[in-house]
C-alpha cells in the first residue's frame, strides 16, 4: 500500500508563496481562503538569528483525528496513498473536524463544506505532482510514497535531518521538513 507524503527542504524554501498561489489557481480556492500557507519561525536575538521558513498544509496524518470525529463519514481516508479527503456532498459543515485538527488545516468553503488540501489527488492520479510541488521555483518540495524505499521522499528522509509538526499530538503527520 502506498503512503503519500511530502518532504520540504527548509534550507531552500524562500517563502515566496508560489505554492499558495498555485494551489489557489489549480483548485479554484475561493478568495480569502488558502489550503496552504507559509510560516516563519525566528529564534535568537539580532543579529544572531536562526529562521526556518515552512510551507504548511494538511499533514494527511496516518492517525487523523478529523476522520475519527466526523459524524457523517464525509472526512475519510482515500484508498490511494492514505490521502485524507472530504466528500463535499456528505459534509454537513458541522466543523468538528476543524476543531480536532492540531494544524488548523481546514476551513469551511463558502459552499458549506469543510475543505483543505487534497494532496491534489486529481493530479496525482494522473501521475503528476501536486500543483504546489510542481510550481516551486526553488525545487524544495518533493512528493511521493513514503513506503517505497526507492522514492525521492524516502531517500531524502534517510539522508537528511528532518522534523514533522507537533509530533506530540500523535497524529502521525506525513509531511516532513528537512533542516
Amino acid at each position: 500500500m502506498a503512503r503519500f507524503g511530502m518532504v520540504i527542504d527548509t534550507a531552500k524554501c524562500v517563502g515566496c508563496m508560489d505554492c499558495v498561489v498555485a494551489c489557489k489557481t489549480e483548485n479554484s480556492v475561493p478568495e480569502g481562503l488558502n489550503r496552504d500557507w507559509i510560516e516563519y519561525e525566528v529564534q535568537g536575538k539580532y543579529p544572531s538569528l536562526h529562521m526556518e521558513i515552512r510551507s504548511e498544509r494538511c499533514n494527511h496524518c496516518s492517525n487523523p483525528p478529523c476522520v475519527y470525529c466526523c459524524p457523517t463519514g464525509a472526512s475519510h481516508v482515500h484508498d490511494l496513498g492514505g490521502v485524507v479527503l472530504v466528500e463535499h456532498n456528505v459534509c454537513i459543515g458541522c466543523k468538528a473536524c476543524i476543531a480536532s485538527c492540531p494544524y488548523d488545516a481546514r476551513f469551511i468553503h463558502p459552499d458549506g463544506y469543510a475543505d483543505k488540501c487534497t494532496f491534489c489527488i486529481h493530479r496525482v492520479e494522473k501521475g503528476l505532482d501536486p500543483a504546489c510541488v510542481s510550481v516551486c521555483p526553488t525545487h524544495c518540495m518533493s512528493f511521493g510514497d513514503l513506503e517505497d524505499p526507492n522514492s525521492d521522499v524516502t531517500r531524502l528522509l534517510e539522508s537528511r535531518n528532518h522534523h514533522a509538526l507537533i509530533p506530540e499530538a500523535g497524529t502521525k503527520p506525513c509531511i516532513f521538513y528537512l533542516v
Binding site: W37, P47, F107
Partner: protein
C-alpha cells in the same frame, strides 16, 4: 517546534464569513467576462506565451478551460523559467480578472488629478492626442514630447515617437534602479550587467549578496539558481541591515550600518590585496592601473572600516578570505535596484573591482557572457533626425549617463530649460510611485499641455492624465518577440490567450493608429503585428507556426566563459579591466572609489529602507485579487526592542512622518528581531491613493510618498533614495 497557533484558525474563520457574504470575486469575474466573440472552445487548451507581471519575461503555458482562463504554468522549453513561474507569474491570472481594470479610453473633464473622465471612442482619443501633438510640434518642435516606457510593451510607442521626431525617451529602470550598477561595471569592464543579469549564480561556490534580497525579490531565474547554489552547499555571505530571507541561508551574515557598504567593500579589497589573495594571473593579464589602485586601498583596513560599518574587523577578514578561497567561482552580486545613497555608481564600481580581483568576470560561477539569437529588427524607414539633443542631461552634467535620465526630463519639464517639454507619454510605469518626490512630478505635470497614460489599471499616474488609454493585459495581446540575451540563445512569443473583456487594446495597435493619425503611417508598413513578427522571424529563418506552438525557439549552445573560448575583450578606453580609471579622473571623479560617510538623520528618527515582496511587482499588482490574497498590505518593520520601548506591537497601526513632515497612510507594525534598531523597512508599491483602484485603495502605506529627498549620483544622475528618515506616529493621533 512552536505549535501552530489558534490565531490562524480565527483568522480563517473570519475570512470565511466575509467571503461567504461577498462571494468569490474570481468566480464572479469569470462569469461576468465570458467570451465576447462567442467562439468558445470546449475543454482545456494550452497556449504558450511569456509573462509580463515583471520584466523578466518568463515563458508560460496558459490553460484555458471552456474559453476561460484557468491557470498559468511555466514553459519547460524556456531557459528563464525552466518550467516554473514565480508566484506573481502564477498569479498572473488575477490580472485578467481584475474588476478595477481600465475599460475604455478616457478624456479628462475637470481639473487634473481629480480623476473625472468622459469615456470616448478610440478614434476620438487619437484625434484629440494627435491635434495636441501637432500643435506642440508647431510651437516647440517634436522634441517637446517625452516618452516614459517600461518593459518590452513600450517598443511600438518608442517607434511612433521616434518617427514623430523626439529623442526624449526614458524609463525609471535607469536613474531609479539599475543605472548606477551598469555604469560602475561599464567603467570597469566596459560592459554592463544587463537584464536578465549575466550572474552565474547556479555555479557559484561563494555568493555575496549586498542588500540584494533574492527570494523576496523574485527575479525567477536568479531565485531558482540561488536555491540551487544553496542546495550545492555554496558559501553564502549576506550584507544587509535587515535579516533578509537570503540572510537566513547565509554562512556569514553581516548586519551592516545602512549607507556604509562602500567602506566594507574597500576593506575587503584591502585585505585581499594586502594578503595577496587576488587572482594575480588574471589581474596581470587583463588589468589596467593595478598598482595605483592597490596604493589607494592602503588606508582602508578592517580596523578603519569597523566604526563605519559596525562589522568586526575579524569578520571582515574571514569573509574576504572566504571569497578568495572559492575564486574564481565567487560571485559578488551587483544587485539590481541600487539607487540608494547617491554614491551608487562608485559603490557598484567597487563591487566590479572586487569581482575583478577575484577573477570572476567571464568565469564559471562568476559572470558569463550572454548570447542571443540573430534576429534582425524590422526594416523601417529612417527616423527624422531631431534638431535638438536630449533634454535630460544638459552640458553633459552627468558624463557617464549612457541612458536617458527620467528625473532630468522631469527637471526640464519644470524649468523649461534647456528647452520646454510640453507632453509626456507614459507607458506601463506608475511615475507617482516610481520617481522620488511626488510634488516635483506633479509640478512638472502641471506644465504639460498633454499627458497621455497607457496602462491596464487606473494607477496614480493615470489619475493625473489628460487622456487615458486602456491596454489589454499581456494574456490578451501579442507583443514584440523577445530575442533574449542569456545563457543560451532563444526567442519567445507573447500571444493572446484570451480576449480582452472590454474595450482594451494592445499597445502595438494603439501605437500604429496614433502614427497613422499623425500622418506617420509610412513607419508602419505592416498590417498587423502578426505580419510584423512573421517578417522578423522568416528573415531569421525561423517559423512563426512553430513558435506559436512552442512559445520558445532555442538556438544551439554557445560558449559563455573565457574557458569555453569567449575572447576576453574589454571595451574600456584602455581595452583592459580598469582598476584605475583615467576617464573618471579626467572628468573630475575619484579614479578609485573613495568612501564618504552618509549623513545622519534627525535625532530620534529612523532611516527608511524599502524593498520587494515576492508576490508583488512594483505598484502594479495591488489590484490583482490573487496576489492580494497573499499579501494585502505592507508592514513597517521595526526592531523588536525599539518597538517595545515605543509600546508598539505587531499588528498595531501607525503612520510614518518623514523629515519634511509628509505623513503616510496608516501601516501595520511588524515588531521583529530581523532588523537593526536604526532603520525601518517596508515593501514598495502599496498605499494606493487612486480612487479607481478600489480594491487596493489605501491598503498599506506608500514608501514613494515619503521619499521627498534624494541624492543625485554625480556620475550618472541616478537618484539615491535611502536618504529619507521617518518618525513613527501613533495612528490615534491622526484619527
Amino acid at each position: 517546534m512552536n505549535p501552530v497557533s489558534r490565531r490562524k484558525f480565527l483568522k480563517i474563520s473570519a475570512a470565511t464569513i466575509s467571503v461567504a457574504a461577498a462571494g468569490s470575486a474570481i468566480v464572479k469575474g469569470a462569469e461576468a467576462l465570458g467570451n465576447k466573440s462567442g467562439k468558445e472552445v470546449k475543454g482545456v487548451q494550452k497556449i504558450p506565451t511569456y509573462c509580463d507581471i515583471c520584466f523578466w519575461k518568463c515563458g508560460a503555458i496558459a490553460y484555458v478551460n471552456d474559453g476561460k482562463l484557468w491557470k498559468l504554468e511555466g514553459n519547460l522549453e524556456d531557459p528563464l523559467s525552466r518550467g516554473r513561474l514565480c508566484p506573481r507569474g502564477t498569479g498572473g491570472v488575477g490580472a485578467h480578472y481584475d474588476p478595477d481594470r481600465l475599460k475604455s479610453p478616457l478624456i479628462r473633464r475637470s481639473e487634473r488629478g481629480r480623476e473625472e473622465w468622459v469615456e470616448v471612442t478610440w478614434d476620438e482619443a487619437f484625434t484629440h492626442i494627435a491635434d495636441k501633438l501637432q500643435k506642440i510640434k508647431a510651437q516647440y518642435g517634436p522634441e517637446a514630447v517625452a516618452l516614459f516606457a517600461h518593459g518590452i510593451g513600450g517598443n511600438f510607442f518608442k517607434h511612433t515617437l521616434k518617427a514623430f521626431g523626439t529623442p526624449n525617451i526614458t524609463a525609471p529602470s535607469f536613474a531609479q534602479c539599475r543605472g548606477p550598477r551598469d555604469v560602475g561595471f561599464r567603467l570597469t569592464f566596459g560592459e554592463d550587467v544587463s537584464s536578465p543579469e549575466r550572474t552565474d549564480i547556479k555555479n557559484s561556490q561563494c555568493l555575496v549578496l549586498i542588500g540584494s534580497h533574492l527570494g523576496e525579490n523574485m527575479h525567477n531565474s536568479q531565485v531558482q539558481e540561488f536555491a540551487e547554489a544553496v542546495g550545492n552547499g555554496a558559501s553564502i555571505i549576506v550584507v544587509d541591515p535587515r535579516f533578509s530571507v537570503a540572510a537566513s541561508k547565509a554562512k556569514f551574515y553581516l548586519p551592516i550600518k545602512p549607507g556604509t557598504d562602500l567602506a566594507l567593500l574597500l576593506a575587503w579589497m584591502n585585505v585581499i590585496v594586502k594578503e595577496g589573495l587576488y587572482d594575480k594571473d588574471y589581474v596581470q593579464k587583463y588589468g589596467f592601473g593595478f598598482e595605483q589602485f592597490a596604493a589607494e586601498l592602503t588606508p582602508y583596513t578592517p580596523e578603519w572600516a569597523y566604526p563605519e560599518t559596525g562589522i568586526e574587523p575579524e569578520l571582515i577578514r574571514t569573509t574576504a578570505r572566504e571569497m578568495a578561497r572559492y575564486r574564481p567561482a565567487t560571485l559578488v552580486h551587483p544587485g539590481r535596484h541600487v539607487t540608494w545613497y547617491g554614491d551608487d555608481a562608485q559603490r557598484s564600481r567597487a563591487i566590479a573591482l572586487l569581482n575583478a580581483l577575484l577573477g570572476s568576470w567571464g568565469r564559471k560561477g562568476g559572470f558569463f557572457y550572454p548570447v542571443s539569437m540573430d534576429v534582425a529588427g524590422y526594416p523601417y524607414p529612417a527616423y527624422p533626425k531631431p534638431e535638438k539633443a536630449k533634454v535630460d542631461n544638459p552640458d553633459n552634467k552627468y558624463p557617464f549617463a549612457h541612458e536617458t535620465i527620467t528625473t532630468g526630463i522631469r527637471e526640464a519639464t519644470i524649468s523649461g530649460k534647456p528647452y520646454p517639454i510640453k507632453s509626456w507619454f507614459v507607458y506601463a510605469t506608475n511615475l507617482i510611485h516610481a520617481l522620488p518626490n511626488e510634488a516635483e512630478t506633479i509640478k512638472a505635470i502641471q506644465n504639460l499641455d498633454l499627458l497621455v497614460v497607457v496602462d491596464v489599471i487606473p494607477s496614480e499616474i493615470a489619475g493625473w492624465a489628460d487622456v487615458v488609454l486602456p491596454e489589454s493585459v499581456y494574456l490578451e495581446r501579442y507583443d514584440d518577440i523577445n530575442v533574449e540575451w542569456f545563457r543560451e540563445p532563444f526567442v519567445a512569443l507573447r500571444q493572446p490567450v484570451v480576449e480582452s473583456p472590454h474595450d482594451q487594446k494592445p499597445n502595438w495597435w494603439m501605437a500604429k493608429k496614433l502614427a497613422e493619425k499623425l500622418d506617420l503611417g509610412a513607419f508602419y508598413p505592416w498590417k498587423d503585428i502578426e505580419e510584423y513578427i512573421i517578417h522578423r522571424l522568416t528573415t531569421a529563418g525561423l517559423s512563426f507556426d512553430e513558435l506559436k506552438k512552442k512559445g520558445i525557439l532555442r538556438g544551439s549552445k554557445q560558449p559563455i566563459y573565457f574557458d569555453e573560448g569567449v575572447s576576453a575583450q574589454f571595451p574600456t578606453p584602455s581595452g583592459k579591466i580598469e582598476f584605475y580609471s583615467l576617464q573618471l579622473a579626467k572628468a573630475g571623479f575619484d579614479p578609485v572609489p573613495k568612501y564618504r560617510r552618509p549623513l545622519p538623520g534627525p535625532l530620534g528618527s529612523f532611516r527608511l529602507l524599502y524593498g520587494r515582496s515576492p508576490v508583488h511587482s512594483f505598484s502594479r499588482t495591488q489590484s490583482n485579487h490573487i496576489l492580494m490574497d497573499m499579501v494585502a498590505e505592507n508592514e513597517i518593520w521595526i526592531n523588536a526592542d525599539v518597538a517595545r520601548r515605543m509600546e508598539l506591537k505587531t499588528g498595531d497601526y501607525v503612520r510614518l512622518k518623514n523629515q519634511d513632515n509628509i505623513v503616510s497612510n496608516k501601516v501595520k507594525v511588524k515588531a521583529t528581531e530581523r532588523i537593526r534598531p536604526d532603520c525601518v523597512y517596508m515593501v514598495h508599491g502599496f498605499g494606493h491613493n487612486s480612487r479607481g483602484l478600489k480594491y487596493a485603495f489605501q491598503k498599506g502605506a506608500s514608501d514613494a510618498q515619503l521619499l521627498t529627498r534624494y541624492v543625485t549620483d554625480p556620475l550618472m544622475g541616478g537618484t539615491g533614495m535611502n536618504v529619507n528618515f521617518v518618525t513613527i506616529e501613533s495612528e490615534a493621533s491622526h484619527g
